[in-house]
Amino acid sequence: MGEKRSQTPSATRRDLVRGAGLVTAGSLVSAFPMPAIAQVTKAPIRIGCLNVYNKAGGIYGQAIFEGLQLYLDQAGGKIAGRPVELLREDDEFNPQVALQKARKLVESEKVQIVAGPLGSHIAAAIAAYMKKAGTPWIVTGAGSTDLTKGRLPHMFRATLSNWQVASTMGAWAAANLKREAAVIASDYLAGHDIADAFRDSFVQGGGKVVKEIFTPPGTNDFSAYISDLVTSPPPMTYVFYSGSDAIRFVKQYDQFGLKAKSELVGFQSTLDADTFSGQGDSALGAISSSIYCETLDTPENKAYVDLFRDKKKSYPGVFDESGYTAMRIIDDAVKLIDGNVEDADAFAAALAKTNIKAPRGPVSFDQVTHQAIQNVYIRKVEKRDGVLRNEPIATVANVGDYPPNKA
């Protein structure tokens, strides 16, 4: 935070308060980072998995956690010879709770790495604390474009940024789909973040946004908005929803016959492996952009999908893969420093050197903002053997971070 929140309050002030607490000086446990221990221990590496595990968003938090776990199991539960413990903390999608839980993980559970969270508002809320604490932090879900602007030295976003995914679609759609589009999105920050990113690149590519609609999160009935679109259908509709909104919108869009009149194009969470069970055939033929596609024809992805389908019947979604790859990135970096994760700076330096072929394709980090540089796939929903899946129809390679974040 600011300068005012001094890390070491003056000794006199501290002693005075302690004195009131009837404490002798020696008993205080320092909360400040200790000098790194040189020799590597065989003690477990503790990773705090701060995420939402219940109710809205819980499905994604769970997917990320299972992804981490899946990789870890595959690696035999050990990294660089050290056993790994995953500690789950539910942030309840509430920034106030999340801050509390982040402190718990860092100060009480003494984790060496924090992985999470899904919510961008959660990430924003804990950023200042995480910066102060200096604990390495692998972002596994939160996509807000602004998050990497803060350039936390120990934070690495191993997953999408909203800008990466939405602006890539804007440019591609203007060039390859239609020149006019309506934009409809959830009326909270992520919705505006994504709509802005799409609009900017779409307009830059010569497209025109004819209508923008923002709907309250958790809308039951979209008929009012959809009827509005039906009367003069735009050639294309760009959509951002997640969770139940994604199910309802895509179904109702189809039920009103709009899918035939206006091409349905969406953000990754709107049309992903975990929404298909709710959307059914209504999703068929829709196009979306994402950092991952479950049907990528690469050896890395095929191996991963086989592994995943061994455990579950379904196909992996973007967050399943995000968790899996995040642990892979941790694994590589920890090996690079011979398991000495206690040295946060060395670990961060190792993370920055990440250069892997993940199921989603090549992943490395922006050296300034620590945003993952990765491919963005344009995907289309197809039905194979009675199962809905996304199939890649175009690849935009090595998309980096939002340029102003680096400036």
């Binding site: 709907t215 139940s244 709710g278």
Partner: protein, 289 residues
């Protein structure tokens, strides 16, 4: 103009959907005086049971028929095990109990069916659109509209025109007298609560193709249902119908024409109506007379 008529139709459909959700709530409050915060959970459970039934049989109609049954049994069980001991206590205790039960039912549902997002497929024959006012309107929504009014009529018929209905109403008006003339009031109460739960489950099934089936939908439908019941007058079925239509229209037209404030509109409607009529449109002042 066409668009406006379409929006009115949308409002009507949404209103009817809200009526199906809130009818059981109004029934339970009207007849038992219980504010049932677990109503959304019954709705959710109805959807999930229907999901299992359609997965096994492929028939939506069968799901509609079967899904309310286990939920009714569960509701009846809850009445016998818990609520029965609370009639003499304050409404707060009943509210808290059903609030607690809603947490438990959410957890149980997630344990059985998982946290995933699902929905029900409309029955064959209602999947296509129908041309109305020059635009496609989903056939399922029209069927829902008809079904909602049929339900309203059926509930009215049962309550007002059958012996069972008059027994229930007698038990409500004056439990002691009803017992005096030989009515089994505890059984009537159990049945009423079970039927209220069953209605919620039925609503959960028919709403499945529109709203989806997932954990968390319980709260999403509970709050509008409460607003409907508060506006209509607690415990009044007629009030629930009118309240549903008011909210259906207000919400839909708000989204269409004043999207900036649509998020608040239903709350404003509720506060405004309760300001003028503190006991709702058709509610009775419990302290008067």
């Amino acid at each position: 103009m066409d668009l406006f008529l379409t929006q009115l139709l949308n409002g009507l459909v949404y209103g009817v959907l809200l009526f199906l959700v809130s009818a059981g709530l109004a029934l339970i409050f009207g007849l038992l005086g219980i504010v049932n915060l677990a109503h959304g959970s019954f709705f959710m459970l109805g959807g999930f049971v229907a999901l299992s039934v359609t997965a096994a049989t492929g028939s939506f109609w069968l799901a509609m028929l079967l899904a309310p049954i286990p939920v009714m049994a569960l509701a009846g069980l809850i009445e016998v095990a818990f609520l029965r001991r609370l009639y003499a206590r304050s409404q707060l205790d009943q509210v808290l109990l059903t609030f607690g039960l809603s947490f438990i039912l959410t957890d149980v549902t997630e344990t059985i069916w998982g946290k995933g997002l699902s929905s029900l497929q409309e029955p064959r024959g209602l999947r296509e659109g129908v041309e109305i006012l020059g635009n496609v309107f989903p056939a399922y929504r029209l069927a829902l509209l008809a079904f909602g009014f049929i339900c309203a009529f059926a509930i009215w018929l049962v309550l007002e025109r059958t012996r069972a209905g008059s027994m229930v109403r007698a038990g409500v008006d004056d439990a002691r007298t009803a017992m005096g003339i030989g009515l089994n009031v505890p059984a009537l109460r159990t049945a009423t609560f079970a039927i209220g739960g069953g209605l919620a489950a039925l609503a959960g099934v028919v709403a499945g193709p529109l709203l989806g089936v997932f954990s968390g939908i319980d709260v999403e439908v509970l709050i509008p249902a409460f607003i409907v019941v508060a506006i209509g007058g607690l415990g009044s079925l007629r009030g629930a119908l009118i309240g549903s239509l008011v909210i259906g229209f207000a919400d839909t037209l708000g989204k269409a024409y004043i999207p900036g404030v649509s998020m608040f509109l239903i709350y404003f409607a509720m506060i405004g109506i309760l300001l003028v009529r503190p006991h709702g449109l058709f509610g009775q002042d419990p302290s008067g007379g």
